[in-house]
Symmetry: C2
Subunit: 173 residues, 2 copies
DNA sequence: TATTGTTATACTCTATAACTATA
DNA sequence: TATAGTTATAGAGTATAACAATA
């Protein structure tokens, strides 16, 4: 994404003579027509998702948590004692890709792998005390900065309707 | 994403004695609790977006067009005579990454780069006749297979409401 | 000097095969 | 043999710096 750069140079001085001449010669200039693109659900969905993740990262900057890491912590807290395969597959993360993610969370002392006594192949996941504390702070940041902003933008009932429709797409499409 | 694999083995035979014993010893099994995750807009948004793109690709399999390629063709058709920088930045594609994309579309004879006579640095983009024909077929497939499915799932008015809210997020968040 | 298209490059995500240790 | 965690690896997608041609 071209996040910045589109800084809207509204300084309306004609820049230089060459540009002015060109503008006169070619009246078709400035903003492009999105046309049917703005009606394509996939397109709008992707742009909205990028914006939401961007804002999430900004809100979480002090805790250095990505959306994916936050989702892992949430799921482990809610389901303590599950193994890597269960947590990963629930989140749509492939097991091989989950290894480095857990290495990261474990190195920051947010989460621990414990060898299961029942089945010594599997690693049970639990949050550390620090992990629980960080997650609690993360939840507060998300609620007060991130989700609150969405409520301001859409309104409470619209936000819930949006969530319902997206869930329906995620689960039934 | 673990697209397949979660094939829901509902064959309720106890498999083997070892597993039965384990199940008895550990009653906490089966599906995980998503908990607050299902209320996180970012999480649901991402899952929905992946589903929609997946379906788009299936619907477009016969034309071999990705969502990104489709968006380029749509935008070039609607804005003929614009250069690479303008098309790319409107779509949030960085100029360097747009080069290979255009190489692909041009090699399939869907789109052409034309050196501008005004400014010989820039390449004007236009659809070829084949490009226009393919795009027309693509639009039909999207309308009849892809967007129609969404209408079935959500209903016409909900689908429009969804689009409106996502646009608002994409543009104002 | 600034801009367009381009190359090279790197970093993240995602995906598959294969290894090890356990079962 | 099958499964859990892991390694290695490859492919997309995305990001930045720098170059040649042109303005």
């Amino acid at each position: 994404m071209t996040v910045s750069k589109t800084a809207e140079k509204s300084s309306e001085k004609p820049a230089d003579a060459a540009k002015a001449r060109k503008d006169a010669a070619e009246p078709q200039n400035e903003a492009l027509q999105l046309g049917e693109l703005s009606e394509q659900l996939g397109y709008v969905l992707k742009r909205a998702q990028l914006k939401v993740f961007e804002n999430f990262l900004r809100c979480m900057a002090s805790l250095q948590l990505t959306p994916a890491q936050f989702s892992v912590l949430l799921l482990v807290e809610k389901n303590p004692g599950r193994n890597q395969t269960e947590i990963a597959s629930t989140l749509g993360i492939l097991r091989p890709n989950f290894v480095a993610m857990l290495d990261n969370l474990e190195s920051r002392d947010l989460c621990t792998r414990i060898r299961s006594t029942n089945d010594r192949r599997s690693h049970i996941l639990v949050l550390t005390d620090k992990g629980k504390a960080v997650l609690a702070r993360a939840k507060k940041l998300v609620a007060t900065k991130h989700e609150a902003r969405l409520n301001d933008l859409l309104g409470q009932s619209n936000r819930e309707a949006l969530l319902g429709m997206l869930s329906k797409i995620a689960n039934e499409f």
